[in-house]
Symmetry: C2
Subunit: 338 residues, 2 copies
């Protein structure tokens, strides 16, 4: 416990960074809210990527995210693309087929219409690709200096087709990732620090891949490693499922350029956000089938570890057999990017 | 048409003020999005207070709003109360019973935890009162100076029970308001300008009132007059329904203090936001029954006008019989409050 004092403390950037401080804050907020779920549903009592409401026998996944990414245009995407993909991915990893989104823009006075148009065109492109619709929206404007350019919120609903949950990992399961790790965060950092690199964000919708893999019936957990990266994602699953995990360092797909930028900045790619990947916890007997299928979408898909008996810890094992904890980051390790 | 040039223009505060400039901007944005609704649903093609998705025979209303109100604590409420009531009201005026909300916070670094706690406690109170649940959330933090204190987005889903629409007003219908007009906006302005007044925001959930009135079967349109006030709300209904309206000036319930603050500031209460009221367009034969029922919730509920044949204009008729247009505000008439 980080002993958050709700009466005295102040918000720090670390409270939004996806690590342990953010988890603490979210738990504090959720503890104040008494109505945490609808009847027969799942809500902020379990803190997953989407809540689930049971409506006349149909399970509806419902999620939200506010996007504050900086820079708003980056190699491989924009805040518009990210806002659609991020929310679609939160639905997909909950086993839901995304159906409809809302779009709420908060704009800074003086923001160029031409940039707004580019962002909305990116939104349109991703919405069409994912075969969803934007059915409601909101637009607010704040005075110059009261907001940094633009914040986008997208909420989304989808129809739940598969029962997956952060709480379902079991000893014996395999740990997989659907592609290389840390591309998004490292690409944005590289752009921030003006490094010359060909690195691009992995920002993309993973819904059709996720739904294909879920069809195999072998997946217990799906989760997208966004803020806090792979490390935060695995730790959250391990804690919720009350299991340990062993990750084999040399099996984790990390691009050479991601590694290099990370080394220069002293940042672990495992703490760095992805925006078009998912972590999969699969039943052992189905793992190879799922891997082969995943490789058709991304050849970097890999089995990276095992779920073992335990109490919520994640270990990383090096090539030579040494083991250490893979800890969730505590707070913000570098300039905020999302 | 205000001739918005999407390639050259810049966003101004007026684009978020609820008037004609905001309508123009929203139409531009909506025109770029190709997937505007789901199958058999209603979406941003019709720009109502919520979209409607048809899921396995159940109609789900889905809406979003980002709240940027300043000040964040005001007489009669807070940004937390407003964020819950505003989204619940958007569902209710679409004839839906609110079911679940999402809550996305964007916080400024340094924001006091104690204030956040007060805001979340207000959220909890309203959520319980409205018998809905917050089932998913998101928390982001931006560096000091990159956002003004806090922005809250709430999205909401509800089950549609009654078929009402901005497009359903017909000549012969009666125009009603559920309570006094302009309290919210004028209370916030009074606080901004440090006027001594007992004025309080009308911020509250109107869902249970709305659902009671809708049961009569006599309501064609329900709409909450938020940004842009009663004037923008009536003009939008008139335009969408292709009818005119005549509003009798002396029938519009405006509190003495609202009128006074408005006179000092030179602001028309009819252009000022309400956050706990609705406009009702009712069939003539049901109007008295609905009015009597509405008076049980708020004794200021009133029939204020008639729907007549026309092409989308709203007239206001004074006591002595003179008539003028009641125009929607163009942009921002005073310091931004929401």
């Amino acid at each position: 416990m980080l002993h958050l004092d709700m009466d005295k403390a102040k918000i720090s950037v670390s409270h939004g960074a996806g690590g342990r401080m953010m988890q603490e804050l979210i738990k504090e907020i959720a503890s104040i809210i008494e109505n945490k779920k609808t009847r027969d549903g799942r809500g902020i009592d379990v803190l997953e990527d989407a809540g689930i409401a049971n409506i006349n026998g149909t399970k509806i996944a419902f999620t939200t995210d506010s996007y504050t990414v900086d820079p708003i245009f980056f190699p491989g995407g924009s805040i518009g693309k990210l806002a659609v993909c991020g929310t679609i991915n939160d639905l997909a990893v909950m086993g839901a087929k995304p159906l409809a989104l809302t779009l709420a823009l908060v704009l800074e006075e003086g923001f160029p219409m031409a940039e707004l148009k580019k962002i909305v065109m990116d939104i349109n492109k991703e919405v069409k690709k994912a075969n969803v619709a934007i059915i409601s929206g909101d637009t607010k404007v704040m005075e110059k200096g009261k907001i940094d350019k633009i914040i986008i919120n997208t909420a989304g609903i989808g129809i739940v087709r598969y029962d997956v949950s952060d709480y379902y990992a079991r000893p014996g399961d395999k740990v997989m990732v659907s592609g290389s790790i840390g591309d998004h965060g490292m690409a944005l950092l590289a752009r921030r620090f003006k490094f010359e690199t060909k690195l691009k964000s992995d920002c993309s919708s993973i819904a059709s891949m996720a739904l294909s893999l879920l069809k195999t019936g072998g997946i217990r957990v799906m989760k997208d490693p966004t803020r806090g990266g792979l490390a935060a994602c695995l730790n959250e699953i391990a804690e919720k499922s009350k299991v340990d995990m062993v990750v084999y360092e040399d099996k984790v797909p990390i691009k050479e350029e991601v590694r290099s930028v990370g080394e220069v900045l002293g940042i672990d790619p495992m703490h760095t956000a992805c925006e078009g990947r998912c972590v999969i916890i699969a039943k052992e007997e189905k793992a190879e089938e799922i891997l082969n299928m995943a490789k058709r979408f991304d050849r970097n898909a890999s089995i990276i570890g095992d779920v073992v008996k335990g109490s919520g810890k994640v270990f990383i094992e090096t090539k030579i057999g040494s083991k250490r904890y893979l800890e969730s980051p505590i707070g913000e390790l570098y300039p905020r990017i999302c």
